[in-house]
Each structure stands twice: as C-alpha cells, then as structure tokens.
Symmetry: C2
Subunit: 184 residues, 2 copies
DNA sequence: GGACGCATGTAAGAAGTTACATGATTTC
DNA sequence: GAAATCATGTAACTTCTTACATGCGTCC
C-alpha cells in the first residue's frame, strides 16, 4: 500500500533534518507549496498515523520552555520514502479557473480579454513568489542537494512561459478586434 | 454567493446547447478535463441543485425509447454564468507528484533521472491526448467560437515546453554525472 | 500590556473519486 | 446472444480547506 499524499511530503521533509509539525509546514510553504501543498489539518493527524505505523518517531524537544515535538525518520520510514520515490506514480492535476473562463468566453464578449489579463497577472505574481524562495534553494544546493533548485527552475520557466502565452494571446485578441461580439 | 466549481462548468457547457448529464460529462472529457475535470458523482447531484435554484431546467427528451433528460439554461442561469465570468476568481492549483519526487531525489540517487524521464513521458502522453481533441476545437472555431481552440493551444504549448524542460534537465543530470551519490 | 511568532491541535464541511447498481438499446 | 454504448444515479470514502481553540514566549 502506498503512502498517502501528505505522508510522502512529510517523510520527504524529514529526509535530512528532524522537524516539528510546525517546521514541516514552514518548509512546505517555503518550497513545495507551489506544486504540493499541505495544511496543519493534514499534517498533525498524519504525524500521528506515521508514528503509529512506525515510519517516524517523535521526541520532546522543548525550545526555551516551549513544548515542541520533533520527528525523525525511522529505518522503516526511510525505506518507505525510497520505495515511494521508485514507484511509477503520476499524480498530475491542474485546476485553472482562468482557462475555464476563457473557454466559455463566447458567452460574454468582454470576458476573454479580462480572463487572459488576469491569468497573466497571476503568473507574474507566482513568479515573484518563486523569486522570494530562490535563496532557500540556493542554500540547499550549496549544502549538497541540487534538486530543490532544479525544481524551482521548472516553476520559474513554467510561469514565465505561461505569462508569455497570455501576453501573446492578449495581443492576438486585440488584433482580431477587441469588441467582436460573442453569441448572447 | 458564487457558483460551486462544478456548477460553473455545467452552466458553461449548456451555454450554447442543451445537454443531458451524460452529454455534459462527454463534453467535459473531450475538452476542459485537462484543466477542469468533473465526474458523474458531481454532475448528477449538481444538476439537481441547479434545477432547484432555478438556473437550469430539465426536459424529458427520450432518444429512441431511452429515457433522457436534457437541461438548458434559464435566464437566471445565463445571468449567473455571465456574473461568474466577470468575477475576478482565480482558482489555480497544481499537483505534480513527479516534481515532488525530483525535489526529494537526494534521498535516492537513481530517483532523479527516473522522475524526470517519467515526467517527460507524461507530458508527451498528454500532448498526444490534446492532439486527439483538436478536431473538436476546430469545429467550434468554425461555428463561431474561437475560445476552445485558443485554450487548447495553451495546453499544447504547456506540455511541449514541459516536455522540453524535462529533456534538457535530463541531459543536464547526465552531464553532471549520472551516478553521483546522494546522501543516504 | 499588546502584538506577533511559535506550537499543537480539532471540527465541520466542501469537493472529488471510485465503485457499484440498474436497465435500455444498438452493434457485431 | 454478447459486448459496447447510452443513461442515470447513489454510497462510501479520501482529501483538503477553513475556522476555531489554546497557550507559551518574546519583543517593543
């Protein structure tokens, strides 16, 4: 039986450093969130289950009097992580409401241009967010793990080409006559 | 109050043609599924709710003795569709397990190359699927609705550049030494 | 003393998938 | 007569988000 979606990201985040639930969430938000998010509502229950399954173990590590439980991979957990990495799984999902609106834009003449412009801005915003986490990926690369940086470059390229597509499509829509009528 | 995610795709699919639940599902599978999917388990209950809300109405239209209910937009439904199109909503989600594996690949030296290659093949397969629905988009364009074709081109470009990124990254990984060791 | 960050959690509900069930009709 | 397609639905389950609750520590 495979790992649950959240289990895999937790095990992965513990692959080098023991971390608390809070720190796992921070790590996710500072890296994989763009293609694999996780909320506290998933993380804490999953930490329990992984502990019960013997894949991780927690240790009380209070920080300055503040309660805190730090988890690390067990040998079994490391094996489960490796097994998952080798499996040919392929979850690949995309939900893009902007594209959906563009698809249906004939029902409202002004909608097409608006949808494309908003989509462009979204990709530009995401790009800016990715720029903000570049330092972290560089640090990982310097510490001997080049993969976060490689993945980050994928994200940057994706949002750049997407924003570019929006810009070109916008020009095209304007050129073919901004105010052409759709059916009503 | 906004439309539910499934409500919007149903209303959109009824914007030109009245359709049965079965036909809506087919239309989704033949077009928006790549960025906005819907299953029967969502469609049929939502058709009830939209009927109750007065946004669509169903009419019995048996086809050769086979029971069948065809739905069309009411005036209220058409207004709701337009309102949704004009709203600045921006659901944009990506889940890419291949990228997640690449991100964690340092935990298993052979994983990186494998993850990139599998991701490349995935994009090539998706590209082939998109080629299969090109005819439908062309037909829509010929019938006066150019937007499905524009959206399709976005998808084609996305999977092309993604596959290209995978190819380049694979070459890079090989060049920097296929068998470099990760930490254990 | 108040705001903010650290830290852990739960409850409710929305959203979506999968598998199942049923039955008619058409095609080979 | 078997298989595929048309057609409609439900139940169980998984996943995930959001909002709430609690309390300590630190900084201003």
């Amino acid at each position: 039986m495979g790992l649950s979606p959240t289990a895999s990201v937790i095990l992965g985040m513990l692959r080098r450093t023991p971390r608390s639930g809070y720190e796992i969430k921070q790590a996710v938000d500072g890296s994989t969130r763009f293609f694999w998010a996780a909320s506290y509502g998933q993380i804490y229950p999953e930490l329990r289950q992984l502990t019960a399954a013997g894949l991780i173990e927690g240790e009380a590590k209070p920080r300055g009097g503040r309660k805190r439980t730090v988890y690390r991979l067990t040998r079994k957990g490391r094996a489960a992580l490796r097994k998952w990495l080798d499996e040919p799984t392929e979850v690949h999902e995309l939900r893009d409401e902007g594209l959906l609106k563009l698809f249906f834009a004939a029902a409202d003449p002004s909608a097409a241009l608006q949808a494309v412009e908003r989509k462009q801005h979204l990709h530009e915003r995401k790009l800016a967010e990715l720029r903000e986490i570049e330092a972290g990926a560089e640090a990982a690369a310097a510490a001997g793990d080049p993969y976060p940086q490689i993945v980050l470059r994928c994200g940057i390229e994706f949002h750049q080409t997407s924003a570019g597509w929006c810009r070109r499509t916008r020009d095209e829509l304007l050129a073919r006559g901004d105010d052409e009528k759709g059916e009503s």
